[in-house]
């Protein structure tokens, strides 16, 4: 399995390269920071200043050359110059990336657990009230704008806080600016308190479609011959369900959730705005607004990496779930 993982990672590198190149072309086409700079002041900056600016951003080089400079820079940990001389993209990026990674990982885990539980129950109790309710809710969440849900969740969170008479849920930021008593435990609960609402709002959207998948694949498996056989052999229903049916029925969900990771990275941008998180999404929005090409690229690169890693995890999970699949 280790050998397989290494091989997969090796294969991922060219994919990532092409992906960064596509991203590079897209972002380069989407804005011209030098033109932006040249028109940024009145009277306009001198030609010398414009040239110096272009040189700093490698904008005087042809596209391919520029890509090469950026790429080789990466190996030195240099994510390229920002349009804003005071902004160090690399330094700004990593902490923010950690913040976002925490958010999306929690959201994916939550959405998966919910999707499996709801999917399985509504498959077993097909056409029951519960099935209809979850189906309807699923469609409703699918149809709801993400930030709409976030606004409503905030309201709900504050309502709970008021009932409880203490702040359980926080609505802004990824942590408090400081803690009265700075212990590891308090830091932990503070972080969790800030995470719950954003995580739920990001998770619910995906939960909706994933639970539909889970229900479908569960139904298919339950009606398959080998489950019938297992039942006929008199295995305990619980064993049939968990050991045999669920295990197989999880495979499509693993695939689809890995594919959806890219969209979750995108969705996190919205969540971070509503909850005022200083994460990678804010980094992206700022980079776009400032036509900070290398900032956008850094985002795409890391987002691409996340997608590839999650897909690799999904591949490895197959082996755990399906005894017929062996990687060696």
């Amino acid at each position: 399995m280790l050998a397989y993982a290494v091989r997969r990672i090796a294969v991922s590198i060219p994919v990532l390269l092409v992906s960064t190149f596509v991203g590079f072309v897209i972002t380069s086409l989407s804005g011209d920071p030098v033109k932006n700079f040249a028109t940024s002041a009145s009277p306009p900056p001198t030609q010398g200043a414009i040239d110096a600016y272009a040189r700093r951003l490698h904008w005087d080089e042809p596209l391919l050359e520029r890509y090469w400079i950026w790429l080789t820079g990466l190996f030195r940990g240099d994510f390229g110059p920002s349009v804003n001389p005071g902004r160090d993209l690399g330094a700004d990026m990593w902490t923010r990336f950690g913040v976002t990674l925490r958010l999306i990982t929690a959201a994916i885990v939550l959405a998966l657990i919910l999707a499996v539980v709801v999917g399985v129950i509504s498959a077993i109790r097909q056409y029951s009230k519960l099935d209809y309710t979850t189906t309807f809710l699923g469609f409703l969440f699918l149809a709801m704008p993400a930030f709409w849900l976030a606004v409503l969740l905030k309201e709900a969170g504050i309502w709970v806080n008021e009932q409880a008479g203490t702040t359980i849920f926080y609505t802004i930021g990824e942590h408090s600016p400081f803690l009265e008593v700075d212990t590891a435990w308090n830091r932990f609960t503070d972080t969790i308190g800030h995470m719950i609402l954003p995580t739920i709002s990001l998770a619910l959207i995906n939960f909706a479609s994933w639970s539909r998948y889970q229900r479908g694949s569960m139904l298919e498996v339950l009606n398959s011959d080998y489950i019938r056989l297992a039942r006929a052999k008199g295995l305990r229903p619980r064993t049939v369900l968990i050991r045999h049916a669920l295990r197989t029925a999880l495979i499509p969900l693993v695939t689809i959730s890995a594919i959806d990771v890219a969209q979750i990275m995108g969705g996190a941008v919205l969540t971070e705005t509503v909850f005022q998180w200083h994460g990678f999404g804010e980094f992206l929005v700022r980079s776009i607004n400032e036509v900070d090409v290398y900032g956008v690229l850094a985002w795409l690169l890391l987002a691409g990496t996340v997608v590839i890693v999650f897909n690799l995890v999904a591949d490895l999970l197959y082996a755990v779930l399906d005894p017929r699949i062996r990687y060696d």
């Binding site: 992906s19 149809a143 969705g267 997608v307």
Partner: protein
């Protein structure tokens, strides 16, 4: 009992007539009650959006003297703080959102279908290259890339649609490629080739029409997806720009009004939900209609 027997007999008499594929599909679709009801509601919404503005007394850009009034007979959906009629705004917003969504669906479907068909038809290296590229597009976070590109659209609805479509076609191409791969070895394709049909003709006349079912189903879902993406882009400020409006822009502007002027928050939001919801149900109905094998499984 005799009653049902008689009806069955009548039905049999009736079914003697030959039906085209289309008739069969329509019939199967009509049997899906939820989908039919959804289609009806959706048609109402579209009529409301495109015909409504011609009949309604206020224009969406018009500043009326009534600022921030709650729903009333004069302003059924109330007004905004600057005195714009919310009903007129919602009609215009729905119109723009639907335009974005439909163009997205059409463009993505057209590109994706051709892309997938070519890949599936030629196979080999062409297939590998085209599909790897499609896979690549699938791994790009749509919202982010759309935001990057849409930052330059200056709120033009069709550019926004093209941007969303530019990232959604990859899914269509995969579906079509799958269908084409399974069909290309079939006898009727062989026959066409024997008759000297060109590759283009085979692809467009024989292969693509056979992929129409899944493609249409996917296109409907794309409409719902595009509406939500337009909304998300508006939220980030990369969508349609004032003074024009879209449903996304309207809900976004009203996101602080949930408790204070709920009509501004709920009316446009409701329309987004209704459109997305009905389209998903219609897609469900179409899936059943095009693919009778995929019936509900009964235990």
């Amino acid at each position: 009992m005799t009653d049902t027997a008689a009806r069955r007999a009548a039905e049999r008499e009736f079914t003697v007539r030959e039906r085209t594929q289309l008739q069969l599909t329509v019939r199967r679709f009509l049997r899906h009650r939820l989908a039919v009801a959804s289609l009806f509601v959706l048609i109402l919404v579209v009529v409301f959006a495109f015909v409504g503005p011609l009949l309604w007394r206020y224009d969406y850009a018009q500043f009326t003297p009534d600022n921030s009034v709650a729903p009333s007979l004069k302003h059924p959906f109330g007004t905004t703080e600057d005195g714009k009629d919310e009903l007129a705004l919602v009609m215009r917003g729905t119109q723009q959102s639907v335009k974005v969504a439909v163009l997205t669906a059409v463009a993505a479907t057209a590109i994706g279908a051709v892309w997938g068909a070519i890949a599936g038809f030629y196979r080999g290296l062409v297939d590998a290259l085209l599909m790897r590229f499609a896979d690549l597009v699938l791994t790009l976070p749509l919202l982010a890339v759309a935001a990057v590109l849409a930052g330059n659209t200056r709120g033009s609805w069709w550019l926004i649609a093209i941007v969303i479509a530019g990232l959604q076609w990859a899914i269509v191409s995969r579906i079509v490629r799958g269908v084409v791969l399974s069909l290309r070895e079939k006898e009727f394709i062989e026959a066409a080739r024997a008759l000297g049909a060109s590759d283009t003709r085979i692809i467009f006349r024989h292969l693509l029409p056979n992929a129409i079912g899944p493609v249409i189903v996917n296109a409907t879902i794309l409409v719902a997806v595009a509406i939500l993406y337009e909304t998300a882009l508006s939220f980030l400020g990369f969508g349609i720009k004032a003074p024009d409006t879209s449903l996304g822009l309207l809900v976004n502007n009203a996101r602080t009004a949930v408790d204070t002027r709920p009509w501004l928050f709920y009316f446009p939001g409701l329309f987004i939900i209704v459109i997305a919801l009905t389209i998903n149900f219609i897609g469900d109905g179409l899936r059943d209609a095009f693919d009778p094998r995929q019936q509900r499984i009964r235990q």
